[in-house]
């Protein structure tokens, strides 16, 4: 996060905000994609998050906490995207916009054969988790952030990060277990 950009954007500087967008958009999109599992939804949530950030930036009293503040906005945008599609999430009429699990694995350096649990089974279980749990697992495992940094990002103590992470992993294991019966 570039504090100068945040402060300038907060004062209404569009160029600064555009620079922030360019700087953050790829990461936000990946986070949203991991949480939502749909490219179309992730794009929408990403856009919504930035628009919401722009609209509310003046209310950000501590620019140095932009990451935590914006992280909550991203989570909320993902939650809204899930609400919209909740009852029709089994119906993907625009599948061409969302790569299949197998397609998505290409380029990640991951050996599909090495993954013990199938992608579909994992995704079904993952999508039973709360948005907050998905977000936590994403920032820890997809973004590989140290727990101290995750704590700063989520504005919670490291101990809380650990306990929440443990609960999220247990919930995921339970969901996988239910799905395999």
């Amino acid at each position: 996060m570039n504090r100068e950009l945040v402060e300038a954007a907060r004062r209404g500087d569009r160029d600064a905000f555009d620079a922030l967008v360019r700087q953050e958009v790829a990461g936000v999109y990946r986070t949203a994609l991991a949480i939502l599992g749909s490219a179309a939804d992730a794009e929408e949530a990403t856009q919504d998050a930035f628009v919401s950030a722009w609209r509310n930036l003046r209310s950000l009293r501590e620019p140095e906490r932009f990451d935590a503040w914006f992280g909550r906005i991203v989570v909320n945008a993902c939650r809204m995207a899930l609400r919209h599609r909740r009852s029709v999430r089994e119906i993907r009429i625009a599948a061409d916009e969302a790569p299949s699990p197998a397609e998505r694995i290409v380029g990640t350096g991951i050996d599909p054969e090495a993954i013990a649990i199938g992608a579909d089974a994992f995704d079904r279980a993952f999508e039973q988790l709360s948005v907050e749990d998905r977000h936590l697992l994403t920032v820890v495992y997809a973004e590989d952030r140290p727990l101290e940094e995750v704590g700063r990002l989520l504005a919670i103590p490291v101990g809380t990060v650990k306990s929440r992470l443990s609960r999220a992993r247990t919930a995921l294991a339970n969901a996988i277990d239910r799905g395999s019966r």
Binding site: G12, V21, A34, E44, R178
Partner: protein, 389 residues
């Protein structure tokens, strides 16, 4: 229960996140954000921003679905819909065997608490009329402007779904929409329109066989392309939701342009309430003609009651009132087991919502935001063509 090891968990989460989007995707997203931000004042409210983002949603809508509106279709009834609880029935009825239809005053009290559990995101049937957006008051705001529930005070805003997230995209005709209507509660005094509930004399909930017959009699005159399917308006159907037995695939389906949720998989079915469906047997390629095929996984998704969403569904059929969107046209070669009977999309499950007391609702009510509009209603049926690939 066995937790995934760190490496496996990391691999899967990274797989879901995908690789870093290429420059083109990032640039496109940044440009879209910049366009939208240019239409939104910093510090503006979400409501006014809603107007601003409408053109973007409309553009997505054009790429996601071609909406074809056809004027009134008289749906012939076979046996007719079931009688439903009248709006004058005692409030707070929690009897799941009776379809709850909210009156205006009941809806008013429910949506006053619309951002809290158990109301937020719930689907309800309400015997109310919907007025179109007051275009004259907010020039250029269509599409994207909310309509409103006629007679509501504080005004209940009625939004139409965004086409990029829903295949269902009902619109509010200029003349308004007559009730009963199917709505999803979105927030305090905010609902999303799912559609006008098809009905005849006095009833909204349809038995499965009547639903099939009514859908069979709907005209199928629109152009049909192999990679599209056509759906009708949302019905409320009184039915048993049943599941296929495990992953089920005895036939090959085309590898391209499949209707993804209707190919091989854990099949979902709607059965008449007077039969005792257990499960579809593995290896069977047929099913009773009075059963309706719904999307794979529908049972797993909808069998657990909304009121206890964490409950693990069993295997028994679950009777209830479901919001069902009939598929009128599809390419049968791309839909395994769709050839023998009706096909539909299971959109949601209706369960009674508790009616809060007037005082509880009043304390949360918000002031009206848009002035009253005209009334005078026709029943319109919205049809659409969605991509299936």
């Amino acid at each position: 229960m066995k937790e995934l090891d760190e490496a496996t968990l990391r691999d899967h989460v990274r797989r879901r996140a995908g690789e870093t989007p290429d420059r083109g995707v990032a640039d496109r997203l940044a440009a879209a954000v910049q366009t939208r931000v240019g239409e939104v004042r910093q510090g503006s409210t979400p409501l006014s921003a809603g107007w601003a983002i409408a053109p973007m949603r409309a553009r997505l809508a054009l790429t996601a679905a071609l909406v074809v509106a056809i004027s009134l279709i008289a749906v012939p009834l076979a046996g007719g819909p079931l009688p439903s609880a009248s709006s004058s029935a005692p409030p707070s009825s929690a009897d799941p065997s009776v379809l709850q239809e909210l009156s205006l005053s009941e809806l008013q009290r429910v949506v006053a608490l619309g951002d809290t559990q158990p109301y937020v995101d719930r689907i309800v049937v309400a015997d109310v009329d919907v007025a179109p957006p007051p275009a004259e008051a907010i020039p250029g705001c269509i599409p994207g402007c909310p309509g409103s529930v006629v007679g509501s005070s504080p005004r209940i805003m009625v939004y139409t779904p965004s086409a990029d997230t829903d295949i269902l995209r009902p619109t509010i005709p200029d003349a308004g929409l007559g009730g009963p209507v199917i709505l999803r509660i979105q927030g305090v005094n905010e609902v999303e329109l799912i559609g006008a509930a098809p009905m005849d004399v006095g009833g909204v909930a349809w038995p499965v066989r009547s639903f099939i017959t009514a859908v069979d009699r709907m005209p199928r005159t629109m152009e049909f392309a192999p990679n599209r399917f056509t759906v009708g308006p949302a019905f409320v159907v009184d039915t048993k939701l049943a599941s296929g037995a495990g992953y089920f695939c005895t036939l090959e389906t085309p590898s391209e342009q499949r209707i993804a949720e209707f190919q091989c998989g854990v099949t979902g079915w709607l059965a008449p309430v007077d039969v005792e469906p257990t499960t579809i047997l593995d290896g069977s390629s047929g099913h009773p003609a009075d059963w309706v095929r719904v999307q794979n996984g529908a049972y797993q998704h909808f069998a657990a009651a909304e009121s206890s969403p964490d409950a693990t569904p069993g295997t028994e059929p679950v009777r209830g009132f479901y919001v069902v969107i009939p598929v009128l046209k599809y390419n049968a070669t791309m839909c395994f087991q769709c050839d023998a009977g009706a096909v539909a999309i299971l959109y949601g499950r209706l369960e009674p919502v508790p009616i809060p007391s007037g005082s509880a609702a009043c304390s949360r009510a918000m002031p009206a935001m848009i002035s009253a509009s005209s009334r005078g209603f026709d029943h319109m049926t919205q049809w659409l063509v969605g991509r299936s690939t």
